[in-house]
């Protein structure tokens, strides 16, 4: 899952980016409104975490322009402004959620996950693929009740394919969804990732969950 974090506090940007990355999100960082808008218009983000008081272009203006140009990413406003009118204005301009600073990192993660589910029109945080169970709220995967230990990247890949069950993702698409925009990742990385994931989630004698469509890409059926 790919997230854009637009925040003028470098320290907050750094710590949040670090935390979200360790969870398994691909996080792009922007320190001002103009850079944030440019990134939001260029890439397909699952969630955009947007501060309101930004240098250059204010957060609400970024949101307004994004929505005016048809940007469909879910937006979570992150602001020190806690007045009702600020929240109402943000939501009326097209934000999907509003979180007031200071906040708990866990809460931010939970809200981002809720927005990801909403993006995939899934209300239940638990996805079942046969004997495989993906708990998106706790970011854990189990088979027949036994926990599987996936890396954050493996989990992110599995969650993306599970949410979009039946849809074929090319390697390039997976790179775009699972890695930072400025990262120089080749499609071979995806092959390695898929290979590792298969070993962990497939059981002997059962039909594979993660399939390959030669020449097209990967999908979960």
């Amino acid at each position: 899952m790919k997230i854009l974090l637009v925040e003028d506090s470098q320290r907050l940007l750094r710590s949040l980016g670090q935390g979200l990355k360790k969870i398994g999100y691909a996080v792009d960082l922007a320190a001002d409104g103009e850079e944030g808008l440019a990134l939001a218009e260029t890439y397909d983000y699952h969630v955009i975490v947007l501060d309101l008081m930004l240098p250059g272009l204010p957060g609400l203006e970024v949101l307004r322009r994004l929505r005016a140009r048809g940007g469909g990413a879910h937006v979570l406003i992150l602001s020190a402004r806690d007045r009702v009118e600020d929240r109402v204005k943000g939501l009326q301009l097209g934000a999907d959620d509003y979180l007031v600073k200071p906040f708990a990192f866990e809460e931010l993660c939970a809200r981002i996950q809720a927005l990801v589910r909403r993006r995939h029109q899934a209300k239940n945080p638990v996805i079942r693929l046969g004997a495989l169970e993906i708990d998106a709220a706790r970011r854990r995967v189990s088979r027949d009740g036994e926990a599987l230990h996936l890396t954050p990247s493996e989990y992110a890949l599995l969650e993306l394919l599970a949410y979009q069950r039946g849809r074929v993702f090319s390697k390039e698409q997976l790179v775009e969804h699972l890695h930072r925009s400025d990262s120089d990742v080749s499609s071979n990385v995806i092959e390695v990732l898929v290979s590792g994931l298969r070993k962990k989630i497939h059981a002997h004698g059962e039909p594979p969950i993660l399939r390959t469509r030669r020449g097209f890409g990967y999908l979960v059926e």
Binding site: D8, S9, R11, L12, R14, S15, L16, Q18, G19, K22, A31, D32, D51, M53, L54, P55, P58, A80, R81, D82, K101, P102, F103, A104, F105, E106
Partner: protein
């Protein structure tokens, strides 16, 4: 507590009633006295008529009274009375009215001990028991020889005679005439009752008129009261409006509106200050919280954790700066700062302040031109003036573009001495000059970066006010910004 309207009504109606009562009493007294004087004049005229009937003739006093001409002294229903007394105490004549009954026959008028050459009046009880008024006149009968002949021709007259002692001085005769005064008293009572009733009607009419006048006259005040009563802390943006107010109310309306404007501005300032403080602290708290949560969750990432600790230290310094500035402002606001004036050489203060900033200035490749006269001296508090200068220079360094110049210059006139700080300011607009001394104001609303918290210029203004210095901000051509600090020169 009674309303102003009730109070005014009570005072006005009380005053009007008192005036009417005094006026009524005075008028009643005047009219009563006039009626009584008229009554007395008529009584005296009647007495004088009887005196005219009394003559001295041939050593005798003769009184010629005809009851037909003066039937009121007869024995009618409401008779009048007279008695004529000689100097020796004997009665020469009394009116036939005394003969009405045994009671009246036995009675007599009150002569009194005091002789009265002029008419003397007194209230008496008449022989028939009625209240009456009497006049007493002591007089010397006139001498008229011609009357003797007339007496002979008129045999119907009642004539009383009394001898006058030979060789003595002319005798003084006392005449007492009395008539009832009950009708006069009844008239006066009617008059009093009429005045009383009229007064009551007038008081009632005045009360109605006063209520009407007060309602109309105090309408503006009542509207003002209603509008002021409706004001509360949530409606400070409203203004009191009273249509066509009288002068006194107009002044109150203007003052109330001015007060509301000041209150509104004060509330807004306080709200903004609270909001700014909250915001200024919220972001670093959010940073600290996330640093600690992320660091605690992945403690093995030592490079990140080390960076987080460094960030936490920077955040603490930033929060410390906010608190130190706020406390300094609070001390000035509360008047707890003492001023110790000594001669302060401005150039030395500026040099010292710039020295502390050379590292930051070098990082931005700023040039510093110090053009202050070495003789320029302020009589001021050295420590606080240094704080003013260091804040202004720190501001100039923070907001000057890379590679630009900061100029410090001085000017002295006969009236004042001043020092100015000039630097380039790319983003400042004329409207910023009015708000840049507000607490937590920063041109960049995002407040990006933690070094400047937006309290430096507020502190400069507060300290300058405390020290009696004037601070003026100007935007000059070529996007140059200047702050001038002046001290008026004594004498």
């Amino acid at each position: 507590m009674r309303s102003l309207r009730t109070r005014l009504f009570v005072y006005l109606i009380g005053g009007a009633t008192l005036v009417l009562a005094i006026g009524g009493v005075v008028l009643t007294t005047i009219v009563s006295d006039a009626l009584q004087r008229e009554f007395d004049r008529a009584l005296e005229a009647k007495a004088r008529g009887l005196i005219a009937l009394t003559e001295r003739e041939a050593g005798q006093i003769e009184f010629e009274f005809d009851p037909e001409h003066m039937p009121e002294f007869g024995d009618g229903d409401e008779p009048e009375y007279f008695e004529l007394w000689l100097p020796d105490g004997s009665r020469l004549q009394r009116s036939p009215s005394f003969d009405r009954s045994d009671q009246t026959r036995a009675a007599s008028l009150v002569k009194g001990p005091r002789p009265a050459t002029a008419a003397a009046f007194q209230d008496v009880r008449l022989p028939d028991g009625r209240h009456g008024r009497q006049v007493r006149i002591d007089f010397v009968p006139t001498l008229d020889p011609e009357d003797e002949q007339a007496e002979a021709q008129d045999s119907d007259r009642t004539s009383s005679r009394a001898p006058v002692p030979a060789g003595s001085s002319p005798p003084t005769v006392t005449l007492l005439v009395a008539r009832e005064r009950e009708r006069l008293d009844a008239g006066i009572r009617r008059l009093e009752l009429t005045f009383l009733g009229l007064g009551a009607v007038l008081v009632l009419a005045l009360a109605g008129l006063m209520q009407l006048a007060l309602r109309v006259g105090l309408r503006s005040l009542e509207r003002l009261t209603g509008e002021v009563r409706a004001l509360d802390v949530t409606s400070l943006d409203t203004r009191v409006t009273v249509e066509a107010p009288p002068e006194e109310i107009r002044v109150v309306v203007e003052q109330v509106n001015a007060l509301l404007a000041r209150l509104e501005a004060g509330f807004k300032r306080e709200r903004r200050l609270s909001s700014d403080i909250a915001h200024e602290l919220k972001t670093p708290i959010a940073e600290l919280r996330n640093l600690s949560e992320v660091g605690a969750r992945w403690p093995d990432d030592q490079a990140s954790v080390r960076q987080f600790f460094e960030d936490a230290g920077t955040i603490a310094q930033q929060m410390e700066r906010v608190v130190v500035h706020l406390l300094a402002l609070a001390r000035v606001d509360e008047g707890r700062e003492q001023v110790w004036r000594t001669p302060v050489w401005v150039a030395e203060v500026v040099d010292a302040a710039w020295k502390a900033l050379t590292r930051d200035a070098a990082a931005k490749r700023l040039e510093f031109r110090q053009e202050i006269s070495r003789d320029l001296r302020f009589e001021t508090d050295a420590e606080k003036f240094s704080l003013v200068v260091s804040n202004l220079l720190a501001n100039a360094v923070a907001y000057s573009p890379v590679g630009s110049t900061v100029v410090c210059a001085s000017e002295e006139t006969s009236a004042r001495a001043s020092v100015s700080f000039t630097n380039r300011a790319e983003n400042l607009e004329p409207q910023d000059l009015g708000v840049m001394f507000d607490r937590f104001w920063r041109k960049d609303e995002a407040r990006t970066g933690g070094r400047n918290v937006g309290l430096g210029l507020s502190l400069v203004r507060a300290l300058a006010d405390l020290l009696g210095l004037e601070v003026e901000a100007q935007l000059l051509p070529d996007r140059r910004f200047r702050i001038t600090v002046s001290q008026p020169l004594a004498g």
